[in-house]
Amino acid sequence: MQIMIKVVLFLILAPVLGGLLSGFDRKIGARFQGRQGPPLLQPFYDLHKLFSKQSVVVNGVQDFLVGGFFVFVIFTGCIFFAGGDLLLVFFALTLAEVFLIMSASSANSPYSAMGAQRELVQMMAYEPMMLLAAIGFYIATGSFNVSEIVHTATPVIAVLPGMFFGFLYILTIKLRKSPFDISTSHHAHQEMVKGLTTELSGNVLALVELAGWYEDVLLLGFVGLFIINLEWWSILAAVAVCILCYFLEIFVDNLFPRVKWDKMLGSTWLVTLVAGGINLLVLTLVY
């Protein structure tokens, strides 16, 4: 029963929170550039418009695959917030990504196909760190279950600082923020039209947007998992850290120009190896 309530709460609250985060992002981004920026609720206006527009269907398979991406992102979030297995969460999220990549490569468009290839490179870059973080959680707490990880006496970040840094680094890729937004971007102008979502329009594009909001909340949930423990105030601390991390990502987004794929892959793997690897090594020696 409690699990059902958690799932329903996630289904309802996550898009609201995700949309607000996105509006906050655009507003802060505009302020960085000395502009007034759109209203905070702008992402909701955009979503409403996309749902009410005509959808030009390139092929039926693409729409089906986008639907798969949407369902699996939500499924992943439900497992995570209901306190499920962390490994299952990571694998389900990967499956969702695979759906998105397949949908992009199913369209007969060079921009869409290039976006799909770059998304694959992005996955190659961030997957090792994600798995390493899951292993770190297991060694630190003795469990892969989210519900048991949050019941530790001390915050996990105390023993996993390197993992936390590594996770923040790949968060830039996952949130599609600027130095690493090579497959598709929130920003209007980029070299591949719109990469992954070039051939999507109307309500299908709206689904991708909505899934992105669910995903953002899920990713900030991971960040919070490093902080939350038995103490009640740790939840407040986790929320504060999540907001701080998101602000940091916006800052990085506005500060750095996009890098080439090899630089992204190299630097991400280096951070994973050094920060994550050393952390894991110390952890295995101590525990």
């Binding site: 505009a30 000395g34 502009r35 007034q36 759109p38 418009k49 209007a188 594009l205």
Partner: protein, 151 residues
């Protein structure tokens, strides 16, 4: 009821413009004018766009391109011709390669004159286009309702 006009995404196409109007269009996005206040996003993808904003006249080479872009945009859509060249060919009207204004190849809804069109005029045109987007949507809804009644 949320209106479609709260989120107009814009596609800017440069016909055979001298770049004067293009620079003024981009000036609308800068901190001084900041059209993103109204939710305007400069998309660069016809499939995501609501407003097609064209500068410069139409020549024999880009005739097919303009038609293609227009046909790729999903309904409801509005076309804005910015600058006198886009309105009717302007100073290049008599050239052997120029067909004339944008309305020679696709239906134009809003004309923004000027050489180059000032950012204030362009914003005015875009705001008019936004109002038209809402009207088109209303009309479509009413037509659909009427059809439903008949059936």
């Amino acid at each position: 009821m949320m209106k479609i006009s709260k989120s107009p995404w814009l596609l800017h196409y440069d016909g055979s413009s001298c770049n004067g109007c293009d620079i003024e269009v981009l000036a609308c996005l800068t901190p001084v004018y900041d059209v993103e206040r109204f939710g305007v996003v400069n998309t660069g993808n016809p499939k995501h766009a609501d407003i097609l904003l064209i500068t410069g006249g139409i020549n024999r080479q880009n005739e097919a391109v303009v038609k293609q872009i227009y046909s790729q945009m999903p309904e409801n859509k509005v076309v804005v011709a910015v600058g006198i060249c886009a309105c009717d060919g302007g100073i290049f009207k008599e050239c052997y390669n120029i067909l004339g204004g944008v309305d020679k190849v696709i239906p134009v809804d809003i004309y923004v004159p000027g050489c180059a069109a000032r950012p204030e005029a362009i914003i005015d045109g875009v705001v008019k286009a936004i109002a038209l987007l809402d009207r088109k949507r209303e009309l479509k809804k009413r037509n659909a309702a009427a059809l439903h009644k008949e059936a």
